[in-house]
Subunit: 332 residues, 4 copies
C-alpha cells in the first residue's frame, strides 16, 4: 500500500503517522519528493482501512498495491475454478449454457421450455421463482411453488437448475436447487452473502448495476471467506447515461475478471440489453471475448407469440444462437 | 400509459395487441400518425408490466403517464409527512439534525460524542453497530453490543437513535432503536423492505449508488405498502465518473423528491463527499436547497486527533456547521 | 411527437397550446386520460424545439416518435452505405481493418509499421499528426510534417490514410488525406462538422465520451446535411464509473447503430480499453457483434520493445489478431 | 509521480525502465515491497506521458503526485483571480450575476430583458447568438446579428455581455464582446482554447458533460498557457443515469475547484436542471456552497407567457431569486 502525504506536512505529523502505522505491524518506506512524501507500506495491509487513511488531513492519496481479495485472486490460485452441478460443468474450458424463462409460470410452461432448451444444447435450466421487482405491485414470482415446478422440469430433463434467492429466510426452500443465484440488487447484501458462504451449493453472483469489478470480486470474497468456493461471476450490464438501451453490456469485464480471478465468468445478454434482437449479437460477442458461459432468457408463452417476439428469445431462436455460439467457439 | 407502435405494424398485429390490452381492463385510444401509431391506455395500468410491453417486437416505446407509486405520492397525499421519535420531529418544517460517529467503538466514545452533538443542536444520534463493508476482512461493527452502547447514550442524552439494519434476522436487536436505517446497498433488498413495512418504527431509506429518484420512491413504496408510513428519504451521493470525489451529491434530488412525494428528505454530506472539509459547504447548500434535515458524521477518536482531522468532522466543527445551517434557514 | 399535459391543466391553457401548435403547421390529436391529456402531433415536427415544449409548465413530458435524423436514417435509406478510399471499401459486407501508430513519429517508424500492417491484412493506415491531448504540455503531434510522412507511407504501400483533424483551419493540409477522423472530443464541435459536410472525403466520426447513440447520429447528420454522405461511425468506449479500465466498450452500439442507420460502424478496441492485452478479445467480440471494421493501434518503437509490450499491440500481435478476426467472420 | 511495477518484473526489465526514466531527467527512488516495486519519480514529470507509462506490460499503475496544471493551480497562485469587464468584477469576493435569455431573438426582446435583469441586480448580460444544437435542423441562433443586438442592450444598460463562441473563425465578430463563453461541447476543443489563450478577453469555460474536475482545469490551462489568465470556470451539470432531470448539478465542484485553483467558479442552475422551478433552490444552494456567481436564463417571450412558465425564469422570478441569493450570502 502507498500513502502520499501532502506538501506542507510537518515532520512531527509524519513521525506520528509512521509511528501509528508501525504499530499496526507494517514496515514503512519513506521516499521524499520535491513537493510530497510517499510512504510505502509493506506487510499485511489488508487490515488497514483505506477510507480512514485517505481521509486524514495530511494524506493526499492512498493506493493499494496488492488487491484486498485473496480467495478469489488468481495470483494465489492460478488454476481455473470448475463449478459442477449434476453432470454439468462450468469453467476451465467447460462452456455453460444456462437457459430458461424469466419467471416460472406453470408446470407446462417450465417443462416445455426445459425440454426445448435441453434439445438445443443448454446445460443448466434457469427460471425465476422469487422475482425482484422495482414495484411492490408487480408480480413477485410463484415463490415456493415455482421451485417445485423447476424441480419437476429437472426430473424430466436432468438439467440442473439455477434460481434466484432474495432472502436468507427462504434458504430451506432451496435445498434441492443446484445453483443459487444472487441478483444484481443483492450483490452487496453482505449478510446474505455471508450465509451463502456457509452452504455447499454453487452461487451465481450477478454484478450490481454500478459495481466496479473489484467490488464484485469483494462480494465473491464474502461468499468464499465462509468456505464456499463455488462461485460463478455474471456480467449482466451496467447502468449508463443512454436511455436507448436498458444497460450497457461491459464485455471487457470478461477478460479482466478472468485475469484477476480464477472464477468462471458468464454473460447474460438478455438482461444486459432488454431486447430479444440484441441477444444473438451479444451472445456471440461474449463467446468471442472468452466467456465461460451464457445465461439467456427463453420463453414460449402465448402473449409473446401473439405479437411475434418480445424481450426473451423463442426456443427456436435459442437453438440457432446456441449453434452460432458453438461455431464461434470452435473457430477460436 | 402510452404505447407507440412501430411503423410497419400490420392491422392484425395492432388488433391483437388492443384486444389483449382491453382484456386487462384498459380502454385503448388509438391515434394514427404518419409513420407510427400511438395507443393511449386509460384505466388501472399499475398492473401492466412495462418491460414486457416495451419488449414486444411491434412496440417502439412505452411511457407511464401516472407514476406507479401511490402511498409515497404527493399527488394523493398533499400534506408533508412528519416523522416523530421521542421528542424529535423531522419533516413538515421540523429540521432534523442527525449526528454521530460512523461506528460505535466504546461507551466512552459514543456517550462523549452524543453529549457534544446534543449541545450543538443535534436532534438525533446516529452510530453504526452493523457496518456494511466492501471487504469481508474489514471491521464489521460491534453488532448487538454497539446497539447496547447507543441505548446508553440515548439514556444519557435523551436523543433518539438512528442505526443501520443489515439483515431482517437482526430485527429483535432493534426493539429499542428509534429509527432504523436502510443503507444504500440494501435500497433494493426488497425482502428486507417488506419486513420493515410491517414494523412500527420510522425507516431512514438511503438512496442506492445508482438509483433513480423513481426507483428510490418505489423502494419507499415497498415499506409503505406494508403499512409503515414513517419513511425518511436520504440523498447520500450517487456514483459518477470522476474519481476525484467518492460520490456526486445530487442536491436537485431534494426539491424533486419533495415535489414527487410528501416524505421528508434529508441529506448526508459526509458519505456523499468522503471529505470532512466538504461537509460544511454541502450542508449549507442542502439547507438552502430545502432539505428537511442533515445526517453528519462526527468523531472524536485519538487516531483522528493525532493527524489533525479526517473524514468525519470534530464536535467543534459540527457545532459551527449547525450554527451556520441555522443562519441559512433563518435567512430564507 | 407526443406531448403529455399535466393533470390540472385548464381548458384555456390546453386550447392556447393547441392553437400555437396548429400555427406551426401540425395536426393535433387530443386523447383525454383519467389524470392527464395526451396530444399527438402529426406533421413535420422536426422544427419543434423539444426542450422548449417540455419546459412548459403544463407539459409533463414530450417524446419524439420519429427520429430527428433523416439522412443517416436507415428507414429512409435501407441499403448499407459503402465508403470507398483508393481501392479499399468499408461497409456493406466489406470489412475494414484500420491500423497504425497512435502518433506519427518519423518516416522510418510510419513506413515500417505501414508495411507490416499491410502485410497482415490492414486495408487503411491510421496515424495521428494532430493529437488532442488533455494537457497543453503534452506532445501535440508532428502536425503538417506528420501528414507528409503519412503520405510517404501511403505512396510506399498503397494504403489509404486516416488521420484526425482538430481545426477547420487545418483543412488545406488534409487535401491528400483519404479519410478525415473527427475525435471523440470534437463529436459535437458543430462548426467543424458543418465544414466537413462540404468536403468530398469520407469522415470517420468517433463517439463522444458520454454521447448517446442518437446524439452521435445527429452529429453524423450535421455532416450529411451539408451533402457529404460518406460517414463512418466509430464506437470507442464510453465513460463510466469503474476506474479499473479507461472506458467501457459499448458493443451493443454496433447492432443498434446498424439498425438505426445505414452507415458503417467500426470499433476501436485500443482506445476503448487502453490496454494492449484487451485488444484481441475485444476485437474478436466486435467482429462477432457484426462490426464493419476495426481500428487498432499498432506500434514498433523501441521504448515499447524495451519493456515487452505496451498499450498498442506490436505488428506481430496485430497479424495474429487479424487472422483470428478473419476466422470469426468466416465462421459466422 | 509514482509508478508501481508488477510482481514478476525481472531485474533487467526494472533496470531498463529506470535507465530510460533517468534519461528523461528524473531521479528515481526505488522501494521494494513484498509483491511489487514502487518507483518514486522526482523532477519535472510534466513531460512524462502517463498513458504510455501505465500501458507498459511491467507497470501496474501510475499516479501523478503533483497536478499537471500550473497556471490554474492555487498552489502556485494562492490569491483569488478577479475577472473584470466594464465596471463588473467577478471572483475574490465579488459575486457575479449573469442573466439573460437563452437566445437573442430581437432588439426588443434583448433590451427589455437586459433592463429587467439589471434592475434586479444582474452584473452581466448573457444571450446566445451562436447556438450549439444537437440537431442541424434546429434554430442555430441569429449569429452576427445577435451580437449586434447584444451590443445595443449593452449600450442601453451598461451591462457587459457574455456570449458563446463556436468557431475561431467567428472571432472577429466578438471584438466588442466582454466575456467569451466556451460551451460544454467545446470544453476539449483544444484548438479553440489555444486561440482564445491569445486574446485579451475573459473566457467563461463551461464544464463538459462528463469532464472530470482535473480535465476542466487542464482545459483552463490550455487558455492560460497562451497568456490569457482571465478564465471563469462554470459548473453546469454533468451527465448521469437518471432520465428524470437533464443533468446532475455537481455542487461539490464549487469548493473543490476553488481549492485546486484560484480561478472564480460560477454555477448555471438553468442548464443543469432544465426546469425553471428548480432554478431557485439550486441557485440558493450554489450561493451557500460558496460559488462566485450564477448564470441564469431569463426570458419574457409570449410563447412562455402563454403557458405560464417554461424552462427559463421570468424577470420577476429572477428578481426574487437575486434577492434570496443576496440574503443567503449576507447571512454567511
Amino acid at each position: 500500500m502507498i500513502a502520499v502525504l501532502k506538501g506542507g506536512t510537518t515532520a512531527a505529523q509524519k513521525e506520528n503517522l509512521i509511528k501509528w502505522l508501525s504499530a499496526q505491524g507494517l514496515t514503512v518506506h519513506v521516499s521524499e519528493g520535491e513537493y510530497k512524501t510517499v510512504l510505502g507500506l509493506v506487510g499485511d495491509t489488508s487490515k488497514i482501512d483505506m477510507d480512514l487513511l485517505s481521509g486524514l488531513e495530511i494524506v493526499d492519496q492512498v493506493a493499494r498495491i496488492s488487491e484486498p481479495f485473496k480467495s478469489a485472486n488468481r495470483k494465489f490460485h492460478p488454476d481455473d475454478t470448475v463449478v459442477s452441478a449434476c453432470t454439468s460443468k462450468l469453467g476451465g474450458g467447460n462452456f455453460g449454457l444456462i437457459a430458461g424463462p424469466c419467471s416460472v409460470e406453470s408446470e407446462e410452461q417450465i417443462c416445455t421450455i426445459a425440454a426445448a432448451v435441453k434439445a438445443a444444447g443448454a446445460t443448466f435450466l434457469r427460471g425465476g421463482a422469487f422475482k425482484p421487482r422495482t414495484s411492490p405491485y408487480d408480480f413477485q414470482g410463484m415463490g415456493a411453488e415455482g421451485i417445485e415446478l423447476l424441480l419437476k422440469a429437472k426430473a424430466a430433463t436432468g438439467l440442473p437448475i439455477v434460481t434466484e434467492i432474495m432472502s436468507i429466510s427462504h434458504l430451506d426452500l432451496f435445498a434441492d436447487v443446484d445453483v443459487i443465484q444472487v441478483g444484481a440488487r443483492n450483490m452487496q447484501n453482505f449478510e446474505l452473502l455471508k450465509q451463502l458462504g456457509r452452504c455447499d451449493k454453487p452461487i451465481l453472483l450477478k454484478r450490481g448495476m454500478s459495481a466496479t469489478l473489484k467490488e464484485m470480486l469483494m462480494s465473491a470474497e464474502y461468499i468464499m471467506a465462509g468456505g464456499n468456493e463455488q462461485v460463478i461471476l455474471c456480467e449482466r450490464g451496467i447502468r449508463s447515461f443512454d436511455p436507448y438501451t436498458r444497460n450497457v453490456l461491459d464485455l471487457a469485464a470478461v477478460p479482466l475478471l478472468k485475469e484477476l480471478s480464477h472464477l468462471p465468468v458468464v454473460v447474460d445478454p438478455s438482461h444486459a440489453t432488454g431486447a430479444a434482437r440484441l441477444v444473438r449479437p451479444m451472445a456471440l460477442a461474449a463467446a468471442a471475448a472468452g466467456a465461460d458461459g451464457l445465461m439467456i432468457e427463453v420463453h414460449n408463452d402465448p402473449m409473446h407469440a401473439l405479437c411475434d417476439g418480445a424481450q426473451s428469445v423463442t426456443p427456436d431462436q435459442f437453438a440457432e444462437i446456441a449453434k452460432a455460439v458453438a461455431t464461434v467457439r470452435t473457430a477460436l
